[in-house]
Amino acid sequence: MQQHILQVIYLIGSVTFIGGLKYLGNPATARKGNLIAAFGMIISIFGTIFLYTNHEGEHLVNLGFIFGGLTVGTIIGWMAAKKVQMTAMPEMVSLFNGMGGACAMLISVIEFNHLTKGVTGVAELPTGEMITIIIGMVIGSVSFAGSIIAWGKLSGRVKDKSFSFQQFINIGLLLVILFFAYQTVFVSSEEFTETFYLVLGLSLLYGVLFVLPIGGADMPVVISLLNSFTGVAAACGGFLYDNKVMLVGGILVGSAGTLLTIVMCKAMNRSLVNVLIGNFGGGNVTAAGAGTAIVGTIKEVKAADAAILMKYAKKVVIVPGYGLAVAQAQHVVHELETLLESEGVEVKYAIHPVAGRMPGHMNVLLAESNVSYDKLVEMDEINPEFNTTDVVLVVGANDVVNPAAKTDPSSPIYGMPILEVENAQNIIVNKRSMKAGYAGIENELFYRPKTSMLFGDAKKALTELVSEIKNLG
C-alpha cells in the first residue's frame, strides 16, 4: 500500500516538474511554475523518507541524520539565497549547481562501496549497475569541479588560464578517463577500487581543466551546460534506484539545459564548439583583434555637459552592461530615468541578450529597482529606433556595442549581433577606464566623433548626472 502511495507521489512530482518548467517559460506564470516544481520536490522528498522500502521491504533508517542534513542544508541554502546580491546571482546558481553535482558524485561513491563490499572480482559485480554508477560519478564530478571554477571566475577569484595544447590535453584526459572507467567495470580483476578512485580524481581534474580556459564572458553558457550535466548525473541515480521522479527531473533538465545552452550560444551568434574550444579572449585571438589599429581621439565629457545634452533631448536610450551590475547602479539609473521622464524625455532601455554575465541579467537587475517591464526593449526591436534617438547612454557595456562585430572580419566578436548605437545623434559612454571589455578587444566606437566618454564608476557618475540635471532646474 505504502509503495503504491509513494509511486503516486513520484508521479505527481514528475508532473509538477514538467508543468513547472513549462510555466517558467512565460513571464506571467514563471513564479507560479517555480513554486509548483518546489511543491513537487517537497512531497517527493518526504514521501521518500517515510514511505520508501528496499527490496526486503525495510524502511529507511538513520532518520535523525537525514533530518539533520536536511535542516543544515535548508538553513545554509536559504540564507545564502536570500542574502546574495542580485549582481552575484550567476555565481550563486553555479555554486548550487556544483552542490548537486557533488551530491551525485557522493551517491555513486557510497553505492560503489556498498556494491563491492567483500567482492574480489569484477565478474561478481552487476555490470548494468556498475556502468550507471560510474557514469553518474564521472558526470557529477565534472559538473562539481567545473561549477566551482565557474563560480570562482565569475566572482573574480579565478583568472582565465590557457596553455598550449590544452585542447589536446583535455581530449587525452577524457580518453584516459574512459579507458579506466572501462577497466573498472569490465577488466580489472582486483584493482577495481583503485581504478574507480583514479577515475574519480581524473574526472575532477577534467572538470577544472574544462572550464579554466573558457573566458569569463562565456561563463553563462558553461553554467547552463554544467547544469544539464548535473541533470544527467541525477538521472543516473534514477536509473540506479529505478526511481521515476529522479529520472524525469534529471533527464528533463539534461535535455532542456542542453537546448538552453545552444539557444544562448545562438544569441551570441556562436556555436557551442566555438565557445568551448574557441578560447575567447586568449592570446592569439586578442593579438589578431588588436592588430586592426584604431585611429582617432577620445573625447571626454563632464557630467554637467552630459546633463544638458540629456535634459534637452527628445529621446534617450540607456544601454546597461556589466559595469552597471558591478557598481550596483540599478537604482540610480532608475532615478535618472524617472527624472528625465518628468522633464518630458522619452526614455528606454536597450537590452542586449548577453549583456552582463547571464542572459536576462540586466532585466533581473533593472526589475529589482522597479524599472517598468515595458521600458526594457530587446535588441531587434530597439535597433531601428537608434536613428531617431538623440542620446544613447552606455553604462558599463562594451562588446555589445562594438561596431567591429559588423565591420571587422578579423575581430573575435565578428558576426555577433550588436546594439547599433552608432546610429544615434550622440553617444555618451560611461566607463571606469579605457580598459577593454571582456572580449579583450578595443572598441572603435569610443573614438568616433559622435561619442563622448563619461569616465568613472557607474554609480558615482550617474549620481552626479542626476544632481546636475536637477541643478538645471
Binding site: 517558467l24 517527493s44 545554509i76 546571482m89 548537486g100 557533488a102 544539464s228 534506484y241 529520472l247 533538465v253
Partner: protein, 100 residues
C-alpha cells in the same frame, strides 16, 4: 550482444521514459524569450536537485561510519541545491511581477 539486448528489455520502461523526457525537455524550452533564460536556468538547476532523493535512499540504508558520513554530506549538498535553487529562482522572478 545478448547481454546488451537483455539489459534493454529489462529496463524498457525506463528507456522509453528517458527518450520521451528528452523530447519533452526540448519542447518546453523552445520559444522562451531571452529575458527568462536566467530564471529558467536557475529553475532547472533547482529541479535537478531531485538527486537528493538518491542521497536520502543511500543515507537511509547506510550502516558503516564512512557511508554515514558521506551520505550526510550528500544530503546536505543536495538540500543546498534544492533549497538554494528554488529560493534564488523565486527571488529573481519576484522582480518580474506586474507593475501598475
Amino acid at each position: 550482444m545478448e547481454a546488451t539486448l537483455g539489459f534493454i528489455t529489462d529496463n524498457l520502461q525506463l528507456i522509453y521514459l528517458i527518450i520521451l523526457m528528452i523530447f519533452v525537455g526540448i519542447e518546453l524550452i523552445s520559444h522562451v524569450p531571452s529575458v527568462l533564460h536566467t530564471p529558467l536556468m536557475s529553475g532547472a538547476n533547482a529541479i535537478h536537485g531531485v538527486v537528493i532523493i538518491g542521497s536520502i535512499i543511500v543515507m537511509g540504508q547506510a550502516s558503516d561510519t564512512l557511508s554515514l558520513l558521506l551520505g550526510f554530506f550528500a544530503v546536505v549538498l543536495g538540500t543546498l541545491n534544492v533549497v538554494g535553487g528554488f529560493v534564488v529562482t523565486d527571488r529573481m522572478l519576484e522582480m518580474f511581477k506586474k507593475k501598475k
